[in-house]
Symmetry: C2
Subunit: 307 residues, 2 copies
């Protein structure tokens, strides 16, 4: 199927320019499934009771990718979608999601992606999600993702989320439960500018012995934007968690970081580190001596920080 | 005035055994002022509208100590007291407070000490506060301190609090506002055991350029006790803050740490670190090879950690 230029442009940003109508994929466009494909091991079915898809990934899946991008270009639209992933024992899969809004109108455009991941024993899942907004309309671009991850024994989940730019308002809710031996890696990157507002709440319940979580959050707040982080790591068993939040503030921005660590078991070991500050002055000076303007130097540092 | 044996025993713990009826002091006993003294530079006046004292510390005070211990031995008593400190510009003073409850009865004994400190420009205050409970009664020993500190320009405040043991329930509220150049040092130490419960909320507003805060909280939770920490550092100006919370959990205890750092100014630099875990195993093994029992070794490590 032919994809229009604006949609393809958005796809190039949120899907690393790699989106193809091949293998297992599902492209959602303005609240409707536009095209989709299955593969031998991965089957995608539309839900019949509400918006969204069920994705079944069988245990023989090894290193395959599923792409499920969402594009909204209709000003005034609120698109709520429920995507559920059933990952069988032993599967190894990369899921590339992402949502881009092109809003050229004066009404708000909003997408709420509610995702659940049922991760079987020993399965290994990498989930990538990019959020992006563009368009010169005055309407807001709003993204409120909900991510629920249920990790069975010895499963591995890598959650890699990025809010690139152009998202006026975002409330992210992430809930994760972990059984014995499960390993979680979270990388969250976030950039806000102008009068944007972003909130990220995350709750990780480590219920099984030997479970471990490594959370890294990096953010840059520019303009008059504001960001609030509230990651919560709860150790109910013999487990390890390390939570790290680093933020750069610029201009008149505001960042609030409220990590919560809660140890309810003598062998729960949880560490948190957070730092908020301005851009590193020595790096700035070094780049400026190389001939860059202040703006160029800042852009290089910010890009490297969020990379 | 003669002090009875039980009261003297409690005083020895909460006042480092140094309490004397000399210089500026005020001993509060079972809800009544028992004895007090003034010095040339420090005057203590009983409030006429409610329980408590006003302490006036003049600008010529240099290195003097004020002792204001509180002892409760009456089971069933709830003692609420308001103590206000007016520290003049340039004063240098050490304030030794502390509250001990000896409860031999079956009813609860409770003390709420509500303290405010008005710290003048350039003044340097060290405030020490020890909380302690004892007595073989079944009634609870409850301490709910409220501490409000207003720091004028270039003042220095060192807040050193310790909950030693025997306190069944404690809710601590601390509020601090800081003007330009003010420097704050907080050391909080807390030990809970059995079914004790302790909550510590702290809010630091850094409003002036060049203000800085260094917060160190160390705690040990034993038995089935639970602890919750909620320190909040807010940077409204060019300021620095470093918050560190370290907790050891033992037995079936639970520790929850919810630090909040909030930067509202591009030159606000705020760092937080928190760690919760069990006692260091290598230290334990080392001490046991020196011939200590497991209990002895644990006691040495815990004492060193809280020292």
């Amino acid at each position: 199927m032919e994809i229009d230029k604006i949609t393809q442009g958005v796809l190039n940003v949120i899907d690393n320019g790699t989106f193809k109508q091949e293998g297992a994929y599902n492209l959602r466009y303005n609240g409707q499934p536009l095209c989709h494909g299955d593969s031998e091991h991965i089957k995608i079915k539309s839900k019949t009771d509400k918006n969204g898809i069920d994705v079944f990934i069988d245990g023989n899946t090894k290193g395959e990718q599923v792409h499920i991008p969402v594009v909204v270009t209709a000003s005034g639209m609120t698109d709520v979608v429920y995507n559920d992933f059933y990952i069988a024992e032993g599967a190894e899969v990369v899921i590339v999601a992402g949502c881009g809004i092109h809003n050229a109108g004066c009404d708000n455009a909003r997408h709420d992606g509610i995702h659940s991941f049922h991760v079987g024993k020993g399965a290994n899942v990498r989930y990538e999600e990019k959020h992006y907004g563009e368009g010169d309309g005055t309407g807001e671009r709003i993204l409120n993702p909900v991510t629920k991850i249920y990790m069975d024994e010895n499963s591995v989940f890598t959650l890699d989320t990025a809010q690139i730019k152009g998202v006026d308002s975002s409330i992210r809710e992430t809930e994760i439960t972990m059984e014995a031996g499960a390993k979680l890696f979270v990388t969250e990157r976030l950039m806000t500018h102008d009068k944007q507002n972003a909130v990220s709440n995350m709750e990780i319940q480590m219920n099984g012995d030997g479970s471990s979580a490594k959370i890294a959050s990096r953010s840059v707040a520019k303009g008059q934007s504001s960001q609030t982080f509230h990651p919560k790591a709860i150790g109910n068993a013999a487990c390890h968690a390390h939570v790290q939040c680093d933020s750069i503030i610029m201009d008149k921005a505001e960042v609030c970081s409220i990590p919560e660590i809660n140890a309810r078991h003598i062998d729960a070991s949880i560490i948190h580190e957070a730092a908020i500050g301005r851009i590193n002055n020595e790096q700035l000076i070094k780049l400026r001596t190389l001939g860059m303007t202040e703006e160029e130097a800042e852009a290089v540092i910010v890009d490297a920080f969020l990379d």
